[in-house]
Each structure stands twice: as C-alpha cells, then as structure tokens.
C-alpha cells in the first residue's frame, strides 16, 4: 500500500513550519529526515529508552510513538530549540560543565525532559528529578552527574533575574569549567556536598579565565 505524502503545519522550536512526509512516519522521523533536525535521537523506536523525547505542547513525549499526521497545529520543542537569543539554556550549560553528557546520545531527550520539569517545578528535589528522568535510559553516566547538573541549573536559573546570567555566557566560550576553584580533593570526593558545591560554583561567580 502506498499513500501520498502527508502535509502538515506545526510550530517547531517556535517557528511556524510546513512539512510534507511519507504518511507512515512518526514525529521522530519527520524531525530527523524531513526537517533535518537530527538532534533528536533514537535507541529503540518502541518507547523503551527515552532517547527520542521531545516536548509536544510543552510536555515530554516519545517522538518515536507520535504519528506525524497527528502533529497538525501542535508545538514541538527539540534540543535545537532549547537555546534562545544565542544563549544556551541553563541546563545545557550545567550538563556540559558537570559531566552530565558523556557520549551525548541520550542527552537531547534528557535535556528536554528536564526542561519540562523545571518549567513546572522550578525547585525540584532530587527525588523529583530522579522520577522525572525515569523514562530516559543513560548507559554512560550512572545518572548522578545528570542529577547534579539539573540541580545546578536550578541554582543558575535564579540569578537570571538579577542579571548575573552574563557570567554564564562568557563561560560558554571557555573550556574551563565552573568548578575550577575546587581543589582536587574536593573534586574527587563524592556525595551530596559536592553537588551543592557544583551548584554553587555553577552559579558562576567569577569563574573561568575571562571572568578574572
């Protein structure tokens, strides 16, 4: 059975978008193959890994199980849409800084899922973060640095209001991380205290060579 292409209009990362595609395609395939937005990944295409998560009307869903033809008029946010006005989302900053992305393959799905969490709960607890990300498998990190990065992003989001966000922006251009001031013994220790330290330093007070 061959059926003509489907044709829909939707909003992708804030931009009105028209797209035609083979009608059997899921949103995942439409994004990657017809809109060239390859930031959204796939690991099973059966809803068993979470790699393909995107925000659909603000809610995290698995794009591998959303029919393309059901996206008419809807609002999709992918990892490519997290940064705005040339600035990375705080989660992107903290994920990059704190080792939350290793191979980076599950990262887009986790980032959009974490964004939805922070949009709804600006100060989630560790248990809430754990729970919100329970549908995203990561084989590299053991999740701990992911949790810490989400927690650090909470700390980052607050200073935005009082204008300290610019510190982050300079840091983006430096490979030096935010935790530079930590000495080696602190950095190699474990447990919650470090997470707090990271969170504190990720709020970006005078770190990185350009901020000196």
């Amino acid at each position: 059975m061959r059926i003509p292409h489907a044709h829909i209009t939707l909003t992708v990362n804030g931009e009105p978008t028209e797209v035609a595609f083979a009608p059997y395609k899921t949103l995942l395939e439409v994004l990657r193959e017809d809109l060239n937005l390859c930031g959204t990944k796939h690991g099973c295409e059966l809803g068993e890994c979470g790699a393909c998560a995107v925000l659909l009307d603000g809610q995290p869903v698995l794009s591998c199980l959303v029919l393309g033809v059901e996206c008419e008029g809807r609002r999709v946010t992918t990892v490519e849409g997290l940064a705005s006005e040339g600035r990375l989302h705080p989660l992107q900053e903290t994920f990059a800084d704190l080792g939350a992305a290793q191979c980076g393959y599950c990262t887009p799905g986790i980032l959009v899922t974490a964004k939805a969490l922070l949009d709804e709960h600006p100060r989630p607890t560790r248990d809430q973060i754990r729970d919100a990300l329970s549908g995203n498998l990561c084989r590299c990190t053991g999740y701990q640095q992911i949790f810490e990065a989400v927690e650090a992003a909470i700390a980052v989001e607050v200073p935005v209001a009082d204008g300290r966000r610019s510190v982050l922006d300079t840091r983006e251009h430096s490979a030096r991380g935010p935790s530079e001031r930590e000495d080696a013994s602190e950095a190699s220790g474990g447990g919650a205290p470090r997470a707090l330290k990271n969170a504190a330093s990720a709020s970006g007070v005078g770190v990185g060579p350009h901020a000196k």
């Binding site: 009608p23 059997y24 199980l65 029919l67 899922t113 248990d127 729970d131 549908g135």
Partner: protein
C-alpha cells in the same frame, strides 16, 4: 530504524464519526499510540486504517459522575455519583487530578478511596509514556507475552505463535488457548473499585462492569467488539473505602507489571472489614479477582492472622506462566507477600520504606 507500515489515517471529531469509521472494518483505534504503534512496528498488528481519537473532545476530561447512569456494577459499591473519566484522559492527567489523590499525600495510612487507582496509574511505564498513554488505552492494552512481543523476524524464527500468524502457544504447547498476560496496571485497580465502562459503536452504546470487559483468553482478552470504542470509565462513590496497588516489576520505571495487587476495603468503626476486593494483575490473561481472599477478610479485623489467611487465599488462583520477566515459580510464590504488603498498608502500617525498596519510590505526588 523500525518503521511503521503504511496505513490510512482518520481523525474524527466525534465518537459517532469514529464509530462509523470503525464499522467499516480493517481499522483500529489509536489514542496514545504507546501500545499499538510498537505492535505495528513489530508487525504484530497491521491495520489498514487507523482511527485517531485525540481530536474527540467528549473523550477527554474527568467529571463528577452522572448518578443517572444506570450502572449495574457491583451494587454494594455503587452509591452516589463517583467520577466519570473520559477514555482519552492521559495517565498523567489522571494522576494529577486532585479528586483521585484526595486523602493521599504519599503518606501512610492511605485513606483516599481511589488511592489504588492513583498508585497504579502513577506506576505505568515512564513519565513520557504516561503523558501519551490514555486510561482507555491502558484498559484495552494488548495482552503481552515474550513469544509475541517480538519483531517479525524473531517470530518467524519460532514459526510464529497462536496469537499472531501461528498455530502453537509456545508458553504451553498443549494449551488450546493463548496464554498471553494481561499487563495493565489500572485494570486491577479499577476492578477492585467496582468501576464500569461505556462502549460505543455505530449501533449504540452499552455499559458494563469493567470486570466484564475481560475474559481469560490471551487473544480474545476483551469482550469489546472490534467496532466498539471504550469511551468512559465510571468510578462509583466509595465513602469509607480505602484502596491500594502494589506492583512487582524488575525496575522502578518502564516495566510492565509481572504482578499487580489491587486491594480495596471498607472498614467499620471498630476496624472490622465490611467489604473487600482483591484483584491480581499479570497472573492470567485477565485481571483476576479473588473472592476467596476477600471473603477471608470480611467480618474480621486486619490482624496479622487475618491478613495471612487472606493472602494465602488470594494468591491461590494466580497462574503465572513462563512468558514474562522473572521465573514463574517465584512470581507465584511472592504473590502472597505482595497481597500482604497491600493489606498491611490498608491497615495503616507505615510501608513507605518497603515501597521505596520494592517500587524504588515512595510514589511522589508531583
């Protein structure tokens, strides 16, 4: 990448329109897509037409139930108006509804009458899948089996099975019927609450107790006709009841239940059980109600002895087979433990630590 086969797609705006499309045959309903689309990708189901329900407004929303609904559902439970849940309500919407969570803040003792449903819905799959999947979809979830939930080539390698394209049930080769497992979390919980459902088709609508939607056959596991749409779930008003749901699975997310225990109880002021329902999930091709287990409780206080007696009776009919995660002997054996956990929680024991170990969460109310 796994691809869907070609299909025609329709997005009706009313139930009547949808029913009309379904009546033409070779069509299947898609709501959240989380059950059907993986099955289609594995070519377990290849409908020529998909009827999408997501644009049908009348299937969405939760309202205080209509007392005029002539539900002939478990009369002892059905008093007053309860709740009506549209079949298109997502599991996320369901767990966020304050009426469901009432009296349940994640702390023991569980007092809310619908807590068991909340706990069941809360533990389905993953947050993303709960954002997509609907209550109607979870109730109609295809039965599952390790010989069936496989890609086309894998199934070809075993010469297929009775449920799709083959002759034999490989779970028990002499079995005359398919032994695929009812793997819905919400069905046992809703059956324990005495819920009813409405089915609509081009020829009319009918109401039936949810328990009667199911039959113990892995292929014909629903009494729903292919042209019928499950449109609503009716929860009776359950003053004085408390309920709970315990789920056994390997991991704290993703996994379908390999055992679900739903219990609902009504206690009198002295703590004596006035009425009880114990329903097991994932031990047969349908949710399995244990009237013996419930009967063992009625008229007794929830003493350790009464609980043990009821747990033994409730676990007795469980017939796990070798077609899910974990060994069948162990699943059979721990059934009584899980019934015990549920009843102790309903008694008011603090089971949070146990929950944390078994469910790997205390069931946050976020």
């Amino acid at each position: 990448m796994m691809r869907l086969p070609y299909f025609r797609y329709h997005a009706p705006r009313t139930v009547a329109e949808a029913a009309d499309l379904l009546s033409k045959g070779d069509a299947m309903i898609v709501a959240g897509g989380t059950d059907l689309l993986p099955n289609m990708k594995r070519r377990q189901q290849v409908p020529g037409t998909l009827v999408g329900l997501r644009n049908i407004a009348e299937l969405r929303g939760i309202s205080n139930g209509d007392p005029s609904t002539k539900l002939r559902v478990a009369p002892s439970l059905s008093r007053g108006d309860g709740l009506m849940i549209g079949a298109g309500v997502t599991l996320t919407e369901l767990v966020r509804d304050v009426r469901l969570r009432q009296g349940y803040g994640g702390q023991a003792p569980v007092t809310g009458p619908y807590a068991g449903l909340w706990q069941a819905a809360r533990q389905v799959a993953t947050p993303q899948l709960r954002n997509m999947g609907t209550i109607g979809g979870n109730l109609c979830l295809d039965t599952r089996c390790n010989y069936y939930d496989q890609n086309y080539e894998w199934r070809k390698a075993i010469d297929f099975c009775m449920k799709k394209d083959g002759e034999t049930c490989w779970v028990a080769t002499s079995s005359p019927k398919c032994l695929a497992v009812s793997s819905t979390d919400t069905a046992p919980a809703l059956v324990s609450l005495g819920a009813g459902v409405t089915l609509a088709s081009a020829t009319g609508t009918r109401h039936l107790p949810l328990a009667d939607l199911y039959q113990n056959d892995g292929i014909h596991y629903l009494t729903r006709r292919p042209d019928e749409i499950l449109t609503a779930v009716h929860l009776p008003r359950l003053d004085g009841w408390r309920s709970t749901y315990w789920k056994l699975r390997r991991r704290g997310a993703f996994d379908f239940p390999v055992l679900g225990v739903a219990c609902a109880l009504k206690l009198d002021r002295s703590g004596t059980v006035e009425a009880a329902r114990i329903v097991l999930g994932a031990v047969a091709s349908r949710p399995l109600e244990s009237s013996n287990g419930a009967a063992a409780l009625v008229g007794h206080a929830l003493t350790d002895e009464a609980i043990a007696h009821a747990a033994d009776a409730a676990a007795q009919p469980a017939r796990p087979m070798d077609n899910t995660d974990y060994t069948l002997h162990w699943r059979k054996r721990v059934t009584r433990d899980f019934v015990t956990y549920a009843l102790r929680e309903l008694r008011g024991d603090d089971t949070r630590e146990l929950r944390r170990r078994v469910a790997r969460q205390e069931l946050l109310t976020m």
